[in-house]
Assembly symmetry: C2
Homo-oligomer: 392 residues x 2
Amino acid sequence: MLQKFRHHNYTEFVFGKGAEDSVGEDIRRLGGQRVLIVYGQGGHIRKSGLLDKIRMSLRDQGLEVFELCGIQTNPRLSVVKRGIALCREEQIDFLLAIGGGSVIDTCKAIGVGFYYNGDVWDLVKMPEEIEKMLPIAVVLTYPAAGSESSTGAVITNDEIEPMVKASIGAPVTRPVIAFENPELTYSLPPYLTACGVADMYVHILERYFSPVEIGCMDYIAEGMLRAVIAFGRKVVEDPLNYDDRAEIMWLGTIAHNNTVGLGRPQDWATHSLGHEISALYDTAHGATLTIVGPGWMKYVHTSCIYRFARYAREVFGIDEADDGKAALNGIEATKEFYHDLGLPVSFEEAGIAADQIDYMAQHAVILGGGSIGRFMQLNGEDAKKIYELCLS
Amino acid sequence: MLQKFRHHNYTEFVFGKGAEDSVGEDIRRLGGQRVLIVYGQGGHIRKSGLLDKIRMSLRDQGLEVFELCGIQTNPRLSVVKRGIALCREEQIDFLLAIGGGSVIDTCKAIGVGFYYNGDVWDLVKMPEEIEKMLPIAVVLTYPAAGSESSTGAVITNDEIEPMVKASIGAPVTRPVIAFENPELTYSLPPYLTACGVADMYVHILERYFSPVEIGCMDYIAEGMLRAVIAFGRKVVEDPLNYDDRAEIMWLGTIAHNNTVGLGRPQDWATHSLGHEISALYDTAHGATLTIVGPGWMKYVHTSCIYRFARYAREVFGIDEADDGKAALNGIEATKEFYHDLGLPVSFEEAGIAADQIDYMAQHAVILGGGSIGRFMQLNGEDAKKIYELCLS
């Protein structure tokens, strides 16, 4: 079933070996003149020569280059504010993210904050105020968040205690162009690669588990989930295989640009529950999803058993006639997949004390405006029970 | 396997009941001032009030409205030239197609011809000359060709004898906005509905059967093919079911906007062979594909049997361990699906004499620049043998 939607995925993609070669030329074509490059610690991209190559590509086109570095995982509001000030001071007209979700999300928050007269954190609660964003180009080095063509950014507010992780987004917050060279992902450590695969897998699941009748989105999502499983397992085993890296890179992009999320309520409870773990323990985002995902499935699956049975059969090929058993087998198969990636499926496996479950459950639901999830609407008590299912 | 690609699907979509309500507002937002509405015979859209509603929506926004009607199936070059002259004379700055592939393709040819100093038919052989197109909006009434967000147009040259059907296209030839209201498709006759379903099915197959290793495109294509089969069968049985019409409408769009065609050689032999039939006998495009499709499959399947075996298993759920047998069963299942749609799978079933097979085979290959198809490259002799496999 497809409900009403408006969809405009205007991101342009340059994909393949050497994709980033034309970054200067493309940014100039798209109107950039004063470009702020944003990146992480920069160790690897300096050593590999990527950063120099990008700088040169921009300068060769006569563009002015500025830089903002030090973006960390679960990117911080304070850095976003520094970025906004810098953009205003230097009259930046184009942002170039080199990295993954954290760097891209920082750019998005800077890009919308640039046009907003007030505290950019306000926009978490007032997305309707977002009308414009500085144009963003992305040189993707970490396929995971899908932020290179999605409409959202996740920022951690480090100005309050305890820190809060929340989303800023609007239809205008997609990057205008993304350069995706799978070779740039060869050097990702196995744990990060695995976290990225888990992130894209759950991006599809958040859209797949929708409280509507089965429609084309489900069929396509099933194909994508099967592909993430197939190539995710491969890429973790053989990180230098170009073809597998390429498949996973593109899957990460389409997992989150709404290819399979149109015209339906999406769930997002797993992300909400996971964000709380990151906010308190700074756990990598992908791992938070594998910690809480199976617990969420166990808790909600009885509310719509045929969807979970279908998931088991179509995604994992589980041959079980009884819907209830099939559903449970599908949840087990999901855990097995996460284990194959080398990721934890419980607080215990992740080495997290889980001593603040009450706070996390309440806080997730407050951030969600009173409840989280659309497949099954969850209150604080539900959220707590789910966290408890994830203990070991 | 994903080869290098550049992809920019910039079409904006407004989908659902009443999607066309905002057509005037959106065209004005997108810069249109003098709008040429292009449509077919106009009988139905006049009677239903759609045409008046659209005119009013444009005029309410202060836009000047012009009209070009009478576009027929397998749209003609002569009409395209009339449209170009009209656009120049009236300084048209926006085209609005109301209809399906024929009307949209006419708009595309007018839109590129407007900027080309010479015979627009030249662009069939010189797509690199296409740098610009008048912006096009689409109110889709026939889900089939996928032209509402694809880069190609198919035009029939009626200035030569016998007529020739060929493609004009470039990255800039996607419409800028498409309004898709499934209710507008309720009135389509069963045969046209079926032809549309066949067209989208084969659009996916042309991309699926690629001479590369299995990749995410294949997994996603399999999901889409299964969805087209499921909802295609339903929509033919129950044409007034909104949900099924909606699924088929969106599937038609994504079947042809390269969602599953990126980074791989695509085949397109089935379309080439089908175009020859339309050019000579004016057969509906979708039906030409079901006439030649199974014959093409029979002829080429031995060249890559594991792909056809996979097709049978993943798309039709055929449980057969032997690849050769599975492949043949998959081809039979395809024919059965076409029959369920009420479409012919041979010249005989279509009531076509097939007395010009030699000419059609040679001509298809000439138009293809010496060969057709990429899954298996076909020469004139191959093409002839395929037509022969489609006789009865």
